[in-house]
C-alpha cells in the first residue's frame, strides 16, 4: 500500500455530484451553428487559415498555431465558415475575442485522417502530431500538451494522471473514467513513453468509487505495468495539479517551478484520453465531455462539439426559467459567462446554471477581523488576510513579498471567510495590476534604450559632420599651401597629391569619429553594441524558441 501525503488546508464544500452521474454521457445533436474561439489555450492566439464562405470538413484545421506556445484549432463538423470576427467568449473579462463561426451542413463529413502506430513513431513526431491535433490540457489550464510532454532533459520518475475532480458539481472526468477507462490508460501509456516516466499514478478522489473501480479494472485488463490507481481523500482542492502531486508523491512544486524539474509531470484524465484519440485515431480535439448541472431539470454529461453555443447545450439539459447566470467550471473557481451565445471551448468542463436560490448572493462584506480561518485552509500556505490587506490598499510590492503569485486562486479562503470578503477577486485584481506594471516597466525600459541610442546617434552624426568639415578645410588649406610652393617638381607634387587623396579617402571611408570620444562614451557605445547584438540574437531565437512555460 502506497502512503499518501496531505497538503495544508483545504475545505469540504458540498459536492453535488450525484445529480449529474445518474445517466451515461449523452451525444449532443448538431447545433445550428458553432462559435469557435481562436484562443482556447494558453499562449498565442491561433491564426485563422480559412476564408469566410469557405466550406470546411470535420477535423479540418481552421487556426494555425502561432509561435511555440500556441495550439491549433479545428472545425468541429463540416460546414461553411460564415464569419471570422470578434464574438463574446468564455472569459472573465466578458470582452469579445476573435472567433470562427461555422454553419454546419449536417453531413458531419470527416477530412481524411488516420492514426499512427505510436510504438513506431519518433517522439518528436508524436509531439508534432499533438500540436497539430490541438491537444491541450483539459483539466482547465488548457496548456498545450505537446510542450508538457517534453521533459527538457529532466529525469521524470512519476507521471501523475489527475482524476481527482475535486470541484463540486463537476462530473465530466468521473463519467469519462467510468465509460472510457481503457482509452484513458492507453493515452497515459503514450504520455509515459514520451516522458520516459518510470511509474504512472492515477489519483481519484474517494467519492468516485465507480470510476476507481472502472480504472482499476482497465489497468488489470490491459496489463499496464507500474500503473497504479489510487483513491485520495475527498478534499478541495486536491485536484489542483500541485496538490495532487503532493498527495501522491509528497513532492511540493513551488510556484514558478516546473514540476518536471522535480521529476513529476501531471496530466488530466481527459487529456490522456484525447492524446490517445489524437495519436491512435488521428482525431483532433473536436469535442469534450461537459457536465451540465445546477438549475436544470436533467443534469447530465454531454459529449459536446467545441464551439456549440451555450444556449443550445443547456436547453438539452432543461435549463429552468429562473436561471440568472451561467457558470463555466465549478462554483469555486468557475467563470461567470457573459452571455448564452458563447461557444463551448476546450476549457469548458462544466456548465452550472445558476439561480439566486442555488447560489444566493453574498451578504455585504465586512472588514477583515484577521481570524485566520483563511490561513487555516490555504493550500498554498499563504497568509490570505495579509494579501487582502495589502491588495486593498494597492500596496502591490507588499503583496508580492507575501507571495501573491503562489496563490492558485482556489477560493478556499473566500469560502470560509466570516466577513464574506471576495478575497480571490482582490488577489486577481492585484495580480493583473502587477502584470500591467510589468508591461509598463518593459515598455519604459525599451523606450529608455531607444532614446539613449537615438541621443548617441545624433551625437555621432554631429561629430561626423564636424569631422568632415574639418577635413575639407584641411584639404583646402593644403592645396593653397601647395599652390604657393614651387611648381617645378610636377611628378613629386602629383605623387604627394595622390597620397593626400588616398589618406583623405581612407579617413572618409572609415570615419573614425570614435577616436575623439571620452573613455566613458566609448564604454557606453560598447555596451549599446553588446545590447544590440543581444537583441538581434533574441530576435533570431524568438521565432524558434518561445518563453518556457511559466506554470505547470
Amino acid at each position: 500500500m502506497r502512503t499518501l501525503f496531505a497538503f495544508h488546508g483545504g475545505v469540504h464544500p458540498p459536492t453535488h455530484k450525484d445529480e449529474s452521474t445518474r445517466t451515461p454521457i449523452a451525444q449532443t445533436p448538431l447545433p445550428s451553428k458553432l462559435v469557435i474561439p481562436l484562443s482556447q489555450h494558453v499562449g498565442n492566439r491561433a491564426v485563422p487559415i480559412v476564408q469566410v464562405g469557405e466550406r470546411v470538413l470535420k477535423g479540418q484545421k481552421i487556426g494555425r498555431p502561432e509561435g511555440k506556445l500556441s495550439s491549433a484549432v479545428h472545425a468541429s463538423t463540416s460546414g461553411t465558415v460564415s464569419a471570422i470576427d470578434m464574438q463574446l467568449v468564455a472569459h472573465h473579462s466578458g470582452l469579445p475575442d476573435l472567433c470562427v463561426t461555422l454553419i454546419p451542413d449536417g453531413k458531419d463529413e470527416w477530412i481524411a485522417h488516420g492514426g499512427v502506430d505510436t510504438k513506431q513513431t519518433s517522439h518528436s513526431e508524436l509531439r508534432h502530431l499533438l500540436r497539430k491535433a490541438g491537444v491541450v490540457g483539459l483539466g482547465g489550464a488548457v496548456f498545450p500538451s505537446d510542450l508538457k510532454t517534453d521533459a527538457h532533459h529532466h529525469k521524470i520518475k512519476t507521471l501523475v494522471i489527475n482524476g481527482a475532480e475535486c470541484e463540486p458539481y463537476i462530473t465530466c472526468d468521473d463519467m469519462l473514467m467510468r465509460e472510457r477507462a481503457t482509452d484513458i490508460l492507453r493515452g497515459a501509456g503514450i504520455l509515459r513513453e514520451l516522458l520516459h516516466a518510470e511509474e504512472v499514478l492515477i489519483g481519484i478522489e474517494d467519492n468516485k468509487p465507480e470510476a476507481i473501480a472502472a480504472m482499476q479494472l482497465a489497468v488489470g485488463q490491459d496489463k499496464h505495468d507500474k500503473m497504479e490507481v489510487l483513491s485520495v481523500p475527498t478534499m478541495y482542492p486536491s485536484g489542483g495539479a500541485k496538490q495532487l502531486i503532493r498527495i501522491l508523491t509528497g513532492i511540493e512544486v513551488a510556484a514558478g517551478v516546473r514540476s518536471t524539474e522535480m521529476g513529476v509531470q501531471c496530466f488530466n484524465v481527459a487529456t490522456a484520453y484525447t492524446v490517445w484519440r489524437a495519436l491512435a485515431h488521428g482525431e483532433p480535439l473536436l469535442s469534450r465531455i461537459v457536465t451540465v448541472t445546477g438549475n436544470v431539470s436533467d443534469a447530465q454529461n454531454f459529449d459536446v462539439l467545441i464551439g456549440t453555443p451555450l444556449d443550445e447545450l443547456v436547453a438539452l439539459a432543461g435549463s429552468k426559467p429562473d436561471t440568472d447566470r451561467h457558470i463555466m467550471g465549478g462554483p469555486m473557481m468557475g467563470v461567470d459567462l457573459p452571455a448564452g451565445t458563447v461557444g463551448i471551448t476546450k476549457a469548458t468542463n462544466c456548465i452550472i446554471e445558476s439561480s439566486p436560490k442555488l447560489f444566493p448572493p453574498q451578504p455585504p462584506a465586512l472588514p477583515c477581523i484577521r481570524c485566520t480561518r483563511c490561513t487555516d485552509v490555504c493550500p498554498a500556505e499563504l497568509q490570505p488576510q495579509d494579501l487582502y490587506w495589502f491588495a486593498k490598499a494597492n500596496n502591490f510590492g507588499k503583496t508580492q513579498e507575501f507571495h501573491l503569485f503562489d496563490c492558485i486562486e482556489c477560493g478556499a479562503c473566500a469560502y470560509v471567510c466570516p466577513s464574506n470578503i471576495p478575497l480571490v477577486q482582490y488577489y486577481r485584481y492585484a495580480k493583473s495590476e502587477i502584470h500591467e506594471r510589468e508591461r509598463d516597466k518593459k515598455a519604459a525600459d525599451l523606450a529608455r534604450e531607444r532614446h539613449e541610442y537615438r541621443q548617441l546617434r545624433i551625437e555621432r552624426d554631429k561629430q561626423e559632420k564636424a569631422e568632415k568639415l574639418a577635413q575639407k578645410e584641411r584639404e583646402a588649406a593644403a592645396k593653397a599651401a601647395q599652390a604657393a610652393a614651387t611648381p617645378d617638381d610636377t611628378q613629386q607634387r602629383l605623387i604627394e597629391e595622390a597620397l593626400a587623396r588616398a589618406k583623405a579617402q581612407a579617413a572618409v571611408a572609415h570615419p573614425q569619429n570614435t577616436e575623439t570620444l571620452t573613455p566613458g562614451q566609448s564604454a557606453e557605445i560598447a555596451a549599446i553594441e553588446a545590447r544590440r547584438a543581444k537583441i538581434r540574437e533574441m530576435a533570431a531565437d524568438a521565432g524558434a524558441d518561445d518563453e518556457p512555460p511559466k506554470s505547470h
Binding site: L95, P364, Q425, A444, D445, R450
Partner: protein, 183 residues
C-alpha cells in the same frame, strides 16, 4: 574666562580636524539617486515636465530643483513612487496636468507627404519612413508622447487611445458595499 575660551577652541579644533578628515574619506562622486529616479519615470521622453527627456527631469528632481508632480504619463502612482523613494509627501498634479489615457500615434497614410519632420521629432525612433516616402508608426515602440504632432505640416498624425481588450484587461478593485456607500 580664558580657560573657557581655550576649552571651546580646543573642542572646535578637534572636531574640525575630524570632520575635515572624514569629508575627504567619505567623498561621494556623482549622484546615484538620479538612476533610481530615472528608473521610476515612464520614459515617454515627452518633455511635459519642462525638461528635454526623462533623465534631465530625474537630475532636476535629484537636485531638488523641481517638484515630483510634473510627470503626467507616470500618473499619480508615479508621484507616489517618487514620494516613497525620496521620502517626501505626495503632491497632486497641478491644474491641467492630469494624466491622459494611454495612446499611440497613428499616421494617416493618405495625407502623409513624407517630410520626415515627425521622424526627427520622435524621441524613441518609433517612426519608420524616408524622405518623400509615406511614414508609419511602429505601434509597439510608440510611447504616446505626442511630440510628433506639432511638427507635422499636414496634421496627418492623430493619437489613438488604446482600448481595453482581452489581453490587457484587468480585474477591478472589488467594491465593498458597506465601505464605499455612505449611509
Amino acid at each position: 574666562m580664558i580657560s573657557a575660551l581655550w576649552v571651546m577652541i580646543g573642542i572646535s579644533l578637534l572636531l574640525g580636524a575630524v570632520l575635515g578628515y572624514s569629508s575627504i574619506k567619505f567623498k561621494v562622486e556623482g549622484n546615484p539617486l538620479v538612476e533610481k529616479i530615472d528608473a521610476v519615470l515612464p520614459q515617454t521622453q515627452c518633455g511635459q515636465c519642462g525638461y528635454p527627456g526623462c533623465k534631465p527631469y530625474a537630475e532636476a528632481i535629484a537636485k531638488g530643483e523641481i517638484g515630483i508632480n510634473k510627470c503626467p504619463p507616470g500618473g499619480e502612482e508615479g508621484i507616489q513612487k517618487l514620494a516613497d523613494l525620496l521620502g517626501v509627501e505626495f503632491q497632486p498634479f497641478g491644474e491641467g496636468a492630469a494624466p491622459k489615457g494611454k495612446a499611440v500615434a497613428f499616421i494617416d497614410e493618405q495625407t502623409c507627404i513624407g517630410c520626415t519632420l515627425c521622424i526627427q521629432a520622435c524621441p524613441v525612433d518609433a517612426i519608420a519612413g524616408a524622405a518623400k516616402q509615406m511614414h508609419t508608426i511602429i505601434a509597439s515602440e510608440c510611447t504616446g508622447c505626442e511630440l510628433c504632432l506639432p511638427p507635422c505640416p499636414v496634421d496627418c498624425i492623430t493619437m489613438e487611445s488604446i482600448g481595453e481588450n482581452i489581453t490587457n484587461w484587468k480585474w477591478r478593485h472589488p467594491v465593498i458595499i458597506p465601505i464605499k456607500v455612505a449611509a
